[in-house]
């Protein structure tokens, strides 16, 4: 153990004094945080420039109702409640007469959109009021939106409500419904998300969960997963090129006369764990201070901190052991770059799966994937942080699996490391790596 600690101490001190580590300690949270900050800034400064829309109405009766609905909704949504600050653009409309040549008219309006005279134009198809009469193929093509917006444009998203509302009003009027009942009839219904109820184990009383905070349900698990990802990447990431470079510099042969391959790897992994703990103290500290400043400290899942640390240590250990084996197998720094994808797969794959896991934290996919050892730390952490959490046996089983996998990977890595670290020249084949792992 003495040698392991000595190697760990040297590696830890050497790595935390590098500009790269200090840079990463500051820049990584800034980069990740800048996304949230950017959204907050954008939210604080919405685009309120007036948007002029043309509506070609081929039904002949829908445009007026749509314009009225849009202007009413626009007036209601235009200002933030309380502050009276304008938070969305004013929409204005023109209704050109449908021309004999639809294509020519669409082209002319398109040119006006390109010239920024119009924000967009809408074409109401002749069958929009009676979609049942349309061919099935055209059912979704009764109303068209022409604009320069992106795929998930905010203008189209906002106007789809008033357009739908305006057309429904015309349909109902044509069915003879009293116009005075239309506002109540067409009022949208929203599903309020609620927490599940539970029973107090001591008193037996039913405990109501109250309203579920959608922001917390998404933001907290997502943030924890990203924080774990960021720490693991910034502390394990440098291990592979560092081992490869030390191999190229041939520093290991002398060390192997004083310490075993296992002691060398264990020392290096311990140093990486130390780096990750240092980073986590800084990152979590920054996160808690930021939440406190925004009066959102209540969102911090402090009770998950021990799990977070356990997952982080396990993931860093696993990745660093893999990095040591892969680094020892490298024949050049370029090999290390190529192998980085293999090394980071255990953290990149769960990050790519994060959205469906956050949406369905207790689905079969989430359960199965979170019990696959390399993916457990990030995915189980995400699930535990989701509203409702997971049964205790799941993180326990997951962590045991990660511990066993980490031990196995470390054992194999030490065997590959011992043989590979003294090899020079062309990198080994997969078959050779397997032979090293088996024979040591």
């Amino acid at each position: 153990m003495r040698k392991i600690f000595l190697i760990a101490k040297r590696d830890y001190l050497a790595s935390i004094q590098t500009k790269a580590f200090l840079f990463g300690l500051i820049v990584a949270p800034l980069l990740f945080g800048s996304g949230f900050i950017g959204v907050a800034i954008m939210k604080g400064k919405p685009d309120i420039k007036e948007r002029h829309i043309a509506i070609i109405d081929r039904t002949g009766v829908a445009a007026a109702s749509i314009v009225e609905s849009a202007q009413r909704t626009n007036r209601e949504d235009l200002y933030e409640k309380g502050t009276r600050k304008q938070i969305m653009p004013v929409y204005s409309f023109e209704v050109p007469t449908p021309a004999g040549s639809p294509e020519a008219q669409r082209l002319a309006l398109s040119e006006r959109v390109r010239a920024h005279e119009l924000f967009a134009f809408i074409e109401i198809g002749p069958n929009a009021l009676h979609p049942a009469e349309s061919d099935a193929k055209d059912r979704e093509s009764d109303v068209f939106w022409y604009s320069n917006e992106g795929g998930v444009g905010e203008g189209r998203r906002w106007l789809s409500g008033p357009v739908s509302d305006g057309i429904r009003r015309v349909r109902l009027a044509q069915l003879g419904v009293d116009p005075s009942h239309l506002n109540e009839t067409l009022k949208a219904v929203e599903l309020q998300s609620m927490k599940l109820l539970s029973k107090d184990p001591k008193s037996g009383a039913i405990v109501t969960g109250g309203k579920k905070d959608d922001l917390a349900g998404f933001f907290v698990p997502f943030s924890l997963a990203l924080l774990l990802f960021m720490i693991v990447m910034t502390t394990s990431g440098p291990m592979l090129p560092a081992i490869a470079e030390d191999k190229m510099q041939r520093v290991f042969e002398m060390l192997l006369a004083s310490a075993t391959a296992f002691e060398l790897i264990a020392g290096k992994v311990l140093a990486a764990v130390g780096r990750s703990l240092t980073s986590s103290v800084v990152y979590i500290g920054i996160a808690l201070l930021s939440l406190n400043a925004m009066a959102l400290l209540g969102y911090a899942p402090v009770e998950l901190l021990p799990w977070f640390v356990a997952y982080m240590v396990a993931e860093v250990t696993m990745l660093c052991a893999m990095a040591a084996a892969l680094g020892a197998a490298c024949g050049s720094p370029q090999d290390a770059q190529s192998l980085a994808v293999v090394l980071f797969a255990p953290v990149l794959i769960p990050i790519m799966m994060l959205t469906p896991i956050v949406q369905q934290p207790n689905g079969t996919l989430a359960l199965v994937m979170s019990l696959v050892p390399p993916f457990t730390p990030i995915l189980m952490m995400t699930r535990q942080a989701s509203p409702g959490g997971v049964p205790l046996w799941q993180p326990v089983v997951g962590l045991v699996g990660v511990a066993l996998a980490t031990a196995g990977i470390s054992w194999v890595a030490a065997r590959i490391f011992r043989v590979g670290i003294l090899m020079q020249g062309k990198p080994p084949s997969v078959a050779e790596l397997v032979r090293w792992a088996v024979r040591g």
Binding site: L6, R10, A14, L255, S258, A261, R418, L422
Partner: protein, 309 residues
């Protein structure tokens, strides 16, 4: 007492047999020189003694303890042939790290003493990456010995050193022996091996071909070498009776007599041809013996022997 006892050790890499059925005893407190052409198995043997590589078969005992498994005993200070140190560390921090890793104690006073001795005191707080190649080699030499190991393995310790640094390292090695340290070193400089080593071991194509003191080795090859200095140099010696080969050293020539041939016949013929200033019968030099074994003729003989085996 043997510091190192090697018995029937064989080590292969894929289809290449690097060390073949090697047995060797290295006495404690001696300087043992490993010689042999490049790729003959010196470094592989040294790595197995240190414990960073393991034999496929056979056994190695260091101070009576078997080298087994993946655990190095840690009694050997090792200077590898391939030089490599943490380049971003300061010289002092690096040497203290290596010394403490091996011995488990602080070696700070010893580090300072060795730095002064090898004229590196001014570089103690500089980063390793700022050192010249020769300085780096001296630092690595200190790293190998600063923990005062009982056994020191030095793979080509003089390569790339200027004469002053070489002399400093040579003196340090002699001092280690005087303290009772066993020193195993490899070298391509036959003069160094002759002058410095108590015993010499030569490995060629993975097999032991020489093992003993210089005198014992020379005795094996008899008094068949004549050193001659004569007018006309090597050209004057062509076709002398009984001469098997002429090795032109420039100002002097070494001629080797064939088996059963009388050097007096050659001398008589040579005096008839030219003016002779020196003519002495000598034992073959280590260099000459090396060439006989590992030169083209020796390689051919080894090939024939291998085919017949």
């Amino acid at each position: 007492m043997s510091a190192i006892q090697i018995r029937g050790v064989t080590k292969s890499f894929a289809s290449v047999v690097a060390v073949n059925d090697l047995s060797l005893d290295i006495p404690a407190g001696s300087i043992y020189g490993f010689i042999g052409p490049n790729g003959s198995g010196k470094t592989t043997t040294m790595r197995m003694i240190v414990g960073i590589s393991h034999p496929d078969s056979g056994s190695i005992q260091v101070f009576g303890r078997e080298m087994a498994g993946s655990s190095p005993i840690g009694v050997a200070g090792y200077l590898p042939e391939e030089r490599g140190l943490y380049r971003k560390m300061t010289v002092r921090a690096l040497l203290e790290f290596h010394g403490e890793l091996r011995s488990g104690r602080s070696v700070a006073p010893d580090v300072d003493a060795w730095l002064r001795r090898l004229n590196l005191a001014d570089w103690a707080d500089k980063k390793v990456e700022t050192l010249s190649k020769g300085m780096t080699q001296k630092v690595q030499f200190i790293a190998a010995i600063v923990a005062e190991p009982k056994l020191v393995i030095l793979d080509e310790p003089f390569t790339g050193l200027d004469p002053v640094s070489s002399e400093a390292i040579r003196e340090a090695i002699l001092e280690l022996r005087s303290r009772g340290t066993t020193v195993v070193l490899s070298t391509h400089d036959m003069n160094t091996a002759e002058a410095l080593c108590d015993s010499i071991f030569m490995i060629f194509q993975g097999r032991k071909v020489l093992d003993g003191t210089l005198a014992e080795i020379q005795d094996l090859y008899g008094n068949d070498t004549i050193r001659v200095k004569a007018e006309g140099g090597a050209a004057a010696m062509a076709g002398l009776p009984g001469v098997e080969s002429v090795h032109d050293l420039g100002q002097i020539q070494e001629i080797r007599m064939g088996r059963g041939c009388d050097p007096q016949d050659a001398l008589r013929e040579l005096i008839g041809r030219t003016r002779v200033w020196e003519f002495s019968i000598a034992k073959p030099s280590l260099h000459d013996i090396f060439i006989r074994i590992a030169g083209p003729a020796g390689q051919m003989a080894a090939k024939v022997e291998a085919q017949n085996a």
